[in-house]
Symmetry: C2
Subunit: 371 residues, 2 copies
């Protein structure tokens, strides 16, 4: 193998695939990045068997070949390379990788490329095309609501529900639920289906995409999703299991609708959270309201107590309710626009946040029972 490459392009590729390298690899070769040159293309691959990422870089190749280098070491080295062209070469599949620039030379240990599990080539399956910007938006608005508790894998996932009205993205950790009806450029699905993908992994993929109108082509088998965009190919494992019937928990109507500034509510909740954190903190903020003001109260023996007031418009009767402040805070951080509805139906019925300018999104919070 022999090729010449510049630091910025190589770094872009390493930054992309390194997200798939596990910090605790199941087999030693998975601590590495697979590199292969052929026909003026360098292909970088990394996988932790949950996600696999492949990235192609145009390079000047003099000789085809493959090798595997330790991902952490290679990443650190690429960052420190000079800006001048750098030559990479191996004298065979089992030889060390030589990296040459100026008069200097790095010799890196390698692993056997034949042991590396490359990404499968998927040809048959359902197909869907999304815009990269929509994929990023869906991830941002939904993934954070998934659980991080690996004991119940469905809840660590984001549901993709192919529905007649569009592609629904849903995530819940049973305390709150986010749902966005996403836009699809094109789809070709044999029959209506649901699939669950790991929320954290989707967020990692979103970070690899440019925020533009680039199209993402996806092929979905029964166990995997292959995503392709420009230089990037990503394989995601589909989480086994049946997602809970999420539609049943979304209230169909509201008794009280509060219209409130996202910024004012967010700042008030941030301040109120101060007296609900800490050793003796309950994480609870209590909401009460009248015609034109929402009152938020919190207290802890340790810190003191906090009373916040925010101007609102209210339709319906006041419904006192209490929430874990984190579930409010996290949603308010991602919801855009000036104003949001908070729809309530009872003290023990989930409240629903809906952005005024975006009917595609809702965020539901299960209330906390207080004395």
């Amino acid at each position: 193998m022999e090729f010449t490459c510049s630091r910025p392009e190589l770094l872009e590729g390493v930054n992309a695939v390194i997200r798939a390298v596990s910090s605790k690899p199941q087999i030693p070769v998975l601590s590495g990045i697979y590199m292969e040159t052929n026909d003026h293309v360098l292909r970088l691959v990394a996988t932790d068997m949950e996600i696999g990422i492949e990235y192609k870089i145009p390079v000047q190749t003099n000789q085809s070949g493959a090798t595997v280098v330790n991902a952490r070491v290679f990443n650190e080295m690429v960052r420190r390379l000079p800006d001048s062209p750098v030559m990479f070469s191996t004298a065979g599949d089992h030889a060390a990788l030589k990296v040459r620039y100026h008069g200097s030379e790095v010799t890196l240990n390698t692993m056997n490329p034949q042991e590396f599990p490359l990404l499968p080539t998927i040809l048959d399956g359902d197909r869907v095309t999304l815009k990269a910007s929509n994929f990023k938006e869906m991830t941002r608005l939904v993934s954070f609501a998934a659980s991080t508790d690996e004991a119940r894998p469905w809840f660590t996932g984001v549901l993709w529900d192919f529905h007649p009205d569009g592609l629904r993205w849903v995530a819940t950790d049973t305390h709150r639920l986010a749902m966005l009806v996403g836009e699809v450029v094109h789809q070709q699905i044999a029959e209506p289906r649901q699939l669950i993908l790991h929320g954290k992994t989707l967020s990692d993929v979103a970070k690899l995409l440019d925020d533009d109108d680039q199209e993402l082509h996806m092929i979905m088998t029964s166990s995997q999703v292959l995503l392709e965009a420009d230089r990037l190919r990503v394989i995601l494992r589909i989480i086994d299991g049946q997602y809970p019937k999420y539609q049943q928990v979304i209230p169909r109507e509201w008794k009280t609708r509060i219209t409130i500034s996202v910024k004012a509510l967010s700042e008030a909740v941030d301040r109120a959270s101060l007296a609900s954190i800490g050793k003796e903190g309950s994480n609870i903020v209590k909401l009460s309201m009248d015609k034109d003001s929402l009152q938020i109260r919190s207290n802890s023996p340790e810190v003191g107590h906090i009373y916040e007031e925010v101007w609102i418009d209210m339709q319906g009767e006041p419904i006192p309710i209490a929430f874990n402040y984190r579930y409010l805070q996290e949603a308010l951080r991602v919801i855009g626009g000036d104003q949001v509805y908070l729809d309530l139906s009872g003290t023990l019925v989930p409240g629903v946040l809906r952005p005024l300018q975006d009917e595609r999104y809702l965020y539901l919070i299960v209330p906390v029972r207080t004395v």
Copy 2:
């Protein structure tokens, strides 16, 4: 106590004094910030008994008084305050602190201000005046060379050596030593003296100073240094003990002088360090040289080996030498200017870095014996 204040000014004061709050306070009241209002001035004080910081803010006071609030909680609260004026009040020394803005109100628990150890008023002692910019420069170039091992307190300190040729700042951890001859605006010292101040604490103080020509007035007793600048007063404890005779380790002459680019050497050492870190890493880089090139070599069974070449000018004969790469790296990061001398006198004699444009500074590294 009652005063009105805006968030940005209060935040500046809290940011300043919070550096003196210990994460493990010896007595409960030291987890707090002391606040006192008098004559349109709010005085904030915090101390961990090693360092004490006082910061004065002009405010609109309606009623004098004092209180102590938990530093962590108060800091978090101030950050989240709205930009509109905020009113603070207590109904007495032992009452809660009320914070009011818009229609909202925070009630914070307080501690007894009479229990708070305020900074002593120092009037008698040696005096010295430095420019803030020089204080910051001295700290940046010297403090990092101090040890972090509290078992030998002198080596965690920076020596201030009042010498006929100026104020020498010296720090060493016994593996390397940094020395800068600092500029003094004015001094009034009864007799030549040395004092040791904690290196990490000096760096904390430097962060509080603006990078300008502001003058710092210091009064030094036998046990403490009081530093005053504008709104800020800082008390530092002098570390007990006799500093080692540092002059004896600085080579008076060199046998070989290498002139080298700071940037090129720094980048080459950064890359070479890759093959000296890790589980089996020695932290060692080996230097050899000929008339116009310096060669740097490192290797580890885990990573591989690295060979770097940097252009140099050399006077004298080649002297192969090995250093812990960290001691080179840390100095090269703070040394300014284009070029630096590396002065060598033998394979087992300390090497000395001296910036070409700054005769006031030197940095010495003890070499590593290799087979």
